[in-house]
């Protein structure tokens, strides 16, 4: 590996190269005081550089231990990990089915659609469902709801929370008849207590908050879902330099992925639509541009098909493209075909 690849400031890099240290092996072969003297930098800076160089070169050499490359996992272990990953139900079993069981934790999922199709509804439903206790097949976690447009209506969250508690009671009643089961102790207000609400008023605050989430979630480890409603709003209005916007958005997408993997939580990004002129006609597409569409791992598009709302898996590394219908009722998201009120629990 070459020395110019090291993540140090450009002036130090320049000094290293002009002093003749073009490869990592040359850096590792001297002591830090020699390096400091040769390159005309302080001892601490030299020490830093040696550390970085050792890290970088260490990952290329064979350690003689189990893994050839530090940090790599083999595919078999990953399969087992993925299978044991919990998923967050959307309360609509048809939708859960095409999602492979629900919204997966450890992944970033983007959900987009026209106004009024139900994006905020899904966001609120997920922030309630993540709290379903483990005994009922849920994750028993908390939710972070980042609201960039003021579309979070707390009355609606209360409606959905009440319906969730009622469904759990109904399920417990059934279980009591056949098995011994715990009483439901959650109340709707408790559910609201576990939804951590941030209101973001500009893209600067949005970026700051995403950066800060790492620390925040380390202090609140039971957060299992982060919902951003919507990721688009501030970036559509105030950004003049589109190239800059793309760079900033990509960095933000990477940060989300890191958060999802590090804390094993689900990140759900809600997006708006725009019209795009392709193949001779105008078509609907999710906002923020083509570069952004590469950034998210999973993408679900909500649309109208006749009289019904449908969800379509547009992009996923493991799920086939499929559509499922859903409805938005006073109790939240439900299946459109079944008329039964009971939510299917795992």
């Amino acid at each position: 590996m070459e020395a110019w690849r090291l993540p140090v400031s450009s002036s130090i890099r320049g000094k290293l190269i002009s002093a003749g240290y073009t490869s990592l092996s040359s850096i590792s072969s001297v002591s830090s005081s020699d390096l400091a003297r040769d390159v005309n930098i302080t001892e601490e800076e030299a020490f830093e550089i040696m550390k970085l160089a050792n890290q970088a070169s260490g990952s290329n050499s064979c350690n003689g231990s189990r893994s050839l490359i530090n940090g790599a996992k083999n595919a078999w272990d990953m399969l087992h990990e993925e299978d044991s990953l919990p998923r967050i139900t959307t309360s609509c079993s048809d939708l859960d089915n095409i999602l492979g069981g629900g919204i997966s934790c450890r992944d970033v999922t983007e959900i987009g659609g026209v106004p009024g199709i139900g994006k905020t509804q899904i966001g609120i439903q997920l922030s309630v469902n993540v709290q379903i206790p483990r005994e009922f097949g849920g994750l028993g976690g908390k939710a972070i709801y980042i609201d960039t447009e003021g579309s979070f209506m707390v009355e609606r969250a209360l409606q959905i929370a009440e319906a969730c508690v009622e469904d759990m009671k109904e399920y417990t009643g059934y279980m009591h008849k056949h098995f011994k089961a715990n009483q439901v102790e959650m109340k709707p207000k408790d559910i609201l207590e576990n939804i951590i609400y941030f209101r973001v008023c500009s893209y600067t605050e949005q970026i700051a908050l995403v950066n800060h989430l790492d620390k925040f979630i380390s202090e609140n480890k039971d957060v299992k879902v982060v919902i951003i409603d919507s990721i688009t709003f501030h970036f559509r209005q105030d950004f003049d330099d589109l190239a800059q916007r793309t760079r900033v958005l990509s960095e933000m997408a990477l940060k989300f992925m890191k958060l999802a993997k590090k804390f094993s939580l689900a990140v759900v990004l809600l997006n708006q639509v725009t019209t795009k002129y392709t193949q001779g006609t105008f078509q609907l597409a999710l906002a923020l541009g083509d570069s952004w569409s590469h950034s998210c791992t999973n993408r679900v598009i909500l649309y109208w098909n006749g009289d019904e709302r449908y969800a379509y898996i547009d992009k996923s590394p493991s799920l086939p493209s499929a559509s499922a219908s859903y409805t938005v009722t006073s109790r939240g998201l439900r299946n459109s075909s079944s008329s039964s009120k009971r939510v299917k629990m795992m």
Binding site: S151, I196, Y197, T204, Q237, Y312
Partner: protein
């Protein structure tokens, strides 16, 4: 928050000076660049950049609260938990109390359907004392097309709230609380609302009505993209104004006919053969709301007023907390009143379509009062 000064965030002096030397003064300047760009610009290692950004982000992040405390605050501090009653029973029930505070509510419909009448009635009821279901405050009414008529407002008051209005001096006081602004251009309007931002709370302004937003923007002769940018700025500003001052903002919008080029299909939706194209277009073939899809995303509540076979209907087309209900209404000397408090639920995207045929233009002054 975005304009917070980096100098005041408690960063190490050395790095703080480096930021200042490169003209990165506010949080916005720092966070608009990626970490690598900052590293290049400031000539500092990635580790220091990361820790500086960490501190800056923490200082710039908005505060949080639980949804429960949001609800409790609303219930405790706000009138009717943050709703302005419209005095239309069915509509108020659907909207959980009335027009919500802190968000944009849009009224869209063809000309002459009753949007301005609705707005005038709302302005009046907001000016009333709390005991009569009002907000006891001032109303700013931005009347772009000169549709506001004080005579009509007083007539509505006399007919719908006779017990209040016949009291001595009440009519004058109530009407005196409605401040009407007639901006001559978009720039004029922009200036006024910016001034307003600072004085809203002190002057007890409880409602802002903009009638109509479309007229303001259509007067400008700028090409498409620039117009979108202007609208974008206004959208952000109005939303933050509503939230910051916790007042309802009601905006009226006009309609336009749909271009043949327009579509509501995604690329993955299979296009039927040309013969069937007409069938799938039935939902799209009428009028649509003006101002575009960006605006449609930005409003929180959209009430569509339309006329179908001679009947005027008000539909709750977009609302996070209500099912898609449609109520028939008519306009009398007392203002708008619903003919039925039981709405019909409309499934599907039909709730968004706007029909304009067949309504009688004559307002029935001899009709029943609400």
């Amino acid at each position: 928050m975005a304009n917070k000064l980096i100098g005041e965030m408690g960063l190490h002096n050395k790095i703080s000076n480096i930021f200042a030397a490169r003209n990165i003064i506010t949080a916005k300047d720092a966070l608009t660049m990626t970490e690598f760009e900052l590293m290049e610009l400031l000539d500092v290692g990635i580790k220091e950049i990361k820790s500086a950004i960490k501190l800056i982000s923490e200082a710039t992040s908005p505060p949080y609260q639980s949804a429960r405390s949001l609800l409790e605050e609303k219930v405790e501090n706000e009138h009717l938990s943050g709703h302005l009653p419209t005095h239309l029973k069915g509509l108020d029930a659907t909207l959980c109390g009335g027009i919500p505070f802190g968000v944009l509510t849009e009224l869209v419909g063809p000309p002459g359907i009753g949007k301005s009448q609705f707005c005038m009635k709302l302005a009046l009821s907001a000016s009333f004392p709390v005991a009569y279901g009002g907000l006891d405050g001032r109303v700013i009414y931005i009347d772009v097309e000169s549709k506001f008529s004080s005579r009509r407002v007083i007539e509505m008051g006399l007919k719908s709230f006779p017990e209040v209005f016949h009291l001595k001096g009440m009519a004058q006081e109530m009407a005196g609380r409605i401040l009407v602004l007639r901006p001559t251009s978009l720039a004029n309007f922009t200036e006024s609302i910016q001034e307003l931002k600072d004085s809203i709370l002190q002057n007890q302004v409880k409602l802002l009505v903009i009638d109509s937003m479309t007229a303001l923007l259509s007067g400008e002769n700028k090409p498409g993209a620039q117009r979108q940018n202007q609208l974008g700025w206004h959208i952000s500003f109005l939303k933050s104004l509503a939230e910051f001052s916790r007042i309802p903002i009601v905006v009226t919008n006009q309609v336009r006919s749909q271009n043949r080029d327009e579509t509501s299909q995604y690329s993955f939706q299979a296009k039927p053969k040309d013969g069937l194209q007409e069938h799938t277009k039935t939902y799209d073939s009428h009028l649509v709301a003006a101002l575009g899809i960006n605006w449609a995303h930005a409003v929180t509540i959209r009430l569509v007023l339309e006329a179908k076979s001679g009947q005027r209907i008000i539909k709750v087309a977009k609302s996070p907390m209500s099912p898609p209900l449609a109520f028939p209404f008519h306009i009398t000397s007392a203002g708008i009143s619903l003919l039925s408090d039981e709405g019909t639920e409309l499934k599907g995207p039909g709730i968004n379509t706007i029909h304009a045929r067949g309504h009688s233009d004559v307002i029935n002054f001899l009709g029943e009062c609400s």
